[in-house]
């Protein structure tokens, strides 16, 4: 199950479209980092609306992705965490500390624009 990654100007938009296995998640991490490097992207939106669960592995992987991309000087926003998924994450004790989140793609892009403005 490959995650499509679209280039939109200086940003990348990755949309997870179905439940992902651990292998898929790691493959996604590699692919996204490659693209960030290739396109010298300034920001990334990861849309997780279609993810069925965010368990400890998925959370850790998304957090790692964000940190790695930050080392390239780019920002990442996770968008579309469903209410029931968010509820399960909190019960489990999972946090996305230091990771930006937004409601949807539009707000995610707005967040990246704002970050770009405030840092230039």
């Amino acid at each position: 199950m490959e995650v499509p990654i679209l280039k939109q100007g200086r940003y990348l938009i990755a949309t997870i479209q179905a439940a992902l296995s651990d292998e898929d998640l790691l493959q996604f991490r590699r692919a996204l980092l490659d693209r960030v490097i290739q396109f010298r992207s300034r920001g990334v939106v990861v849309d997780v609306t279609a993810l069925d669960v965010m368990d400890s592995f998925a959370t850790r992987t998304l957090r790692d992705i964000t940190y790695m991309i930050r080392l390239r000087g780019a920002d990442t926003v996770i968008v579309g965490i469903q209410p029931e998924v968010a509820f399960a994450m909190v019960q489990l004790g999972l946090t996305l500390e230091g990771v930006a989140t937004a409601l949807d793609l539009e707000e995610g892009l707005a967040h990246l624009e704002q970050r770009a403005r405030s840092s230039s």
Binding site: M54, Q91, L94
Partner: protein, 133 residues
């Protein structure tokens, strides 16, 4: 029970399969979308522990019914190395693999009943129940 669903866990792909089976069973049993996701998340953590520590095992899903209650049980069973200290393993942040150490204590918070038995060198069984309310 005859209606139990048994999912062999041998790779990370089986984790997805187990939680999809669990999601479907929980929905059929009448759980809300929120509870269905809690159940799927618990299955994901238990199945991943099988893959990570025991390499293989099984997840058995079933419906339990008593006079005035209905629920879903998840049994995770493996013949792996077992857990040296269950007290440690049940603590938030304890991990022997560099994980977040939230799997087992987190699952306990997600469900209503939680029983874990483990024998070193013999394996681990976790049995959890979530009641419909």
């Amino acid at each position: 029970m005859p209606d139990d669903i048994r999912v062999l866990i041998r790779s990370n792909l089986d984790i997805v399969k187990a939680r999809q089976e669990g999601r479907a069973l929980a929905a059929r049993t009448g759980f809300s979308a929120t509870d269905v996701t809690l159940i799927a998340t618990a299955i994901s953590e238990l199945a991943r522990n099988i893959v990570s520590y025991a390499r293989q095992g099984e997840i058995v899903l079933g419906v339990v019914e008593s006079a005035n209650a209905k629920g879903v049980t998840i049994i995770s069973r493996d013949s792996g190395p077992g857990i040296r200290s269950i007290d440690d393993a049940m603590r938030d942040g304890y991990s022997t693999s560099g994980g977040l150490g939230l799997g087992l204590p987190g699952v306990r918070r997600l469900v209503d009943e939680f029983i874990i038995e483990s024998v070193l060198g013999r394996g681990t069984v976790v049995r959890v129940t979530k009641w419909l309310r």
